[in-house]
């Protein structure tokens, strides 16, 4: 692990230079340790693919003190075993009317639509990062056979709940927004809500598995077409 300065009140911890389940598990564990041992000076934490940004109160501690604190609490990390997040199952309606890019993605991949759906569901994804918009979780990595580049022209309006693929990442749009990812289905579970806690069904470090549902189930779970 390497610690770099990010800003006057921010340090960034690098755990590697590529995303992998091993690094994600380490970050998951490190985040918990930092929250526990540095709580008194912590303002915010941003875990991501291979790094954690630590934002601290510079009136309560300086950069050297924090660096020491981080080093001493993360010693436990190297010694400790690999800890995993929760497994969260999310329903997915892969109906063709809700998936404008599914046919094109299948054609490009020289697979049938059914195969694309089967491959997308077959795997457990990791929540590598949350950002871009409130509740937007980057899940990875999808099978190379169904990886697809972003659309040349992003859509002005992607519906809330849209399940999407970009390169080897998949995600669910938490609210209506512009977006350039390939839309392959709809998830009726709200990914971000301001009304109740927790505000998101997943956190960084959790694992996600999609389970196909039919239209009736989708509508019964509160989905909108």
């Amino acid at each position: 692990m390497k610690i770099e300065i990010a800003g006057e009140n921010a340090l960034i911890l690098y755990f590697g230079d590529k995303a992998s389940p091993e690094i994600a598990a380490k970050i998951y564990q490190a985040e918990k340790l930092i929250r526990e041992h540095c709580a008194d000076v912590l303002i915010d934490l941003i875990p991501s693919y291979a790094s954690i940004l630590v934002i601290f109160d510079l009136f309560l501690c300086d950069y050297y003190q924090l660096k020491n604190k981080l080093h001493s609490c993360l010693v436990k990390l190297q010694a400790g075993s690999i800890v995993d997040g929760r497994l969260v199952e999310l329903p997915a309606y892969y109906g063709i009317e809700s998936a404008p890019d599914l046919a094109a993605l299948a054609y490009r991949a020289q697979l049938s639509i059914e195969e694309v759906i089967r491959i997308h569901q077959a795997q457990e994804y990791r929540v590598y990062a949350i950002g871009f918009a409130p509740g937007f979780a980057y899940l990875g990595e999808v099978d190379t056979r169904i990886a697809a580049p972003r659309l040349a022209t992003p859509r002005v309006k992607v519906p809330r709940g849209a399940i999407a693929i970009a390169d080897r990442q998949t995600a669910i749009y938490p609210s209506v927004s512009p977006g350039g990812w390939n839309l392959i289905g709809l998830c009726p579970t709200p990914m971000f809500t301001t009304e109740c806690e927790p505000n998101m069904p997943v956190s960084v470090g959790d694992r996600v598995k999609f389970c196909a549902i039919n239209k009736t189930e989708f509508l019964a779970l509160g989905g909108n077409l």
Binding site: G7, A10, I46, P47, S48, A50, T194
Partner: protein, 313 residues
């Protein structure tokens, strides 16, 4: 109801407190005042806690009608202020009576003014803060900038107080069109050659037409990193992102919390406050400082702020 009716919302007026913290893990950014110093003075003049909700008025054009008696203070960008058509001074409190009309002209130097009211605007908190972030539809009255006919509730004054406070002229910030941005190198700085770094710290940059609360895009000498992109990672306030075109972007309060462009370092918050008062065509220089210097500057500035006494009018 006690408060203010928004007669004219102005170009872009936002309810802000000091910002939304501890919510990055669900993707929420900070919001909060771009010029924290001017914002804090507005609240201090009103004898408020510094996190009280006040207005950030970008460019100007705001008109409010009071529905109860209170006091207000306006700080920040130089802008004409009229109460019932009488010209009033910035950086001091003014007594307001029910029915008074408060009107702001357009900013002449600086672009953001702050209007605080005794006790603060009474705005429900979303995720611990009233700060408006339009991109996230978060905070404020309905997650947007003020619109005409909005109503801004306040608490009625508990006692009538004739004393008005002012900040002495010598302590009032002035807003120039040429700002030095003190910068700590960090993040991917090792991916910029020593020539690239020297170029970056010796060149003058101009604020482009793309500047907002998310960030300021600058134009000037192109600086190239030896990598194109990085794995998306957390972005702190003031981070200087260098996209493929080599033109720096200084990221501010409403930035996205993660991103995949290389960053050469970060501007200290004392100076992003000055950057945020610039508009298109204004000039900046980056000056490299150490993190120790940054910490000292913050301590000094905090001492100066708390040590400066307000004066009676």
């Amino acid at each position: 109801m006690n408060g203010f009716l928004v007669k004219q919302a102005g170009i872009h007026t936002l309810i802000q407190d000091l910002g939304r913290f501890g919510q990055h893990q669900i993707g929420l950014t900070n919001g909060g005042p771009i010029d924290k110093l001017a914002f804090s003075w507005a609240n201090r003049l009103c004898q408020n806690v510094l996190n009280s909700s006040a207005l950030e008025i970008t460019m100007g054009g705001l008109e409010l009608i009071a529905t109860s008696a209170t006091k207000i203070a306006i700080t920040g960008a130089k802008v004409d202020v009229f109460i019932n058509n009488q010209r009033k001074e910035l950086w001091r409190t003014h007594t307001i009576n029910s029915g008074d009309v408060i009107r702001l002209g357009f900013a002449e130097s600086g672009i953001r003014a702050y209007l605080a009211v005794v006790g603060g605007f009474q705005i429900p908190l979303s995720f611990t803060s009233s700060a408006t972030v339009c991109r996230e539809k978060m905070g404020g009255l309905q997650g947007t900038a003020l619109i005409n006919n909005d109503f801004l509730p306040i608490n009625a004054l508990t006692k009538y107080d004739e004393t008005d406070f002012t900040l002495n002229y010598q302590y009032r910030p002035t807003y120039s069109k040429n700002v030095v941005l003190r910068t700590i190198i960090g993040y991917q700085y090792q991916h910029f050659s020593s020539v690239a770094k020297r170029l970056f710290f010796s060149s003058e940059y101009t604020v482009s037409d793309r500047y907002d609360r998310m960030g300021y895009r600058l134009t000037g000498s192109k600086v190239k990193a030896d990598i194109k992109g990085i794995l998306s990672e957390g972005i702190c306030h003031g981070a200087i992102q260098i996209p493929a075109d080599g033109q720096p972007i200084v990221l501010l309060n409403d930035r996205q919390t993660i991103g995949g462009y290389p960053k050469i370092g970060s501007v200290i918050a004392l100076d992003t406050a000055k950057l945020g008062q610039l508009g298109q065509g204004d000039k900046v220089h980056f000056e490299q400082i150490s993190i120790e210097d940054a910490h000292n500057l913050n301590q000094l500035s905090a001492c100066l702020f708390t040590g400066t006494k307000l004066e009676l009018c």
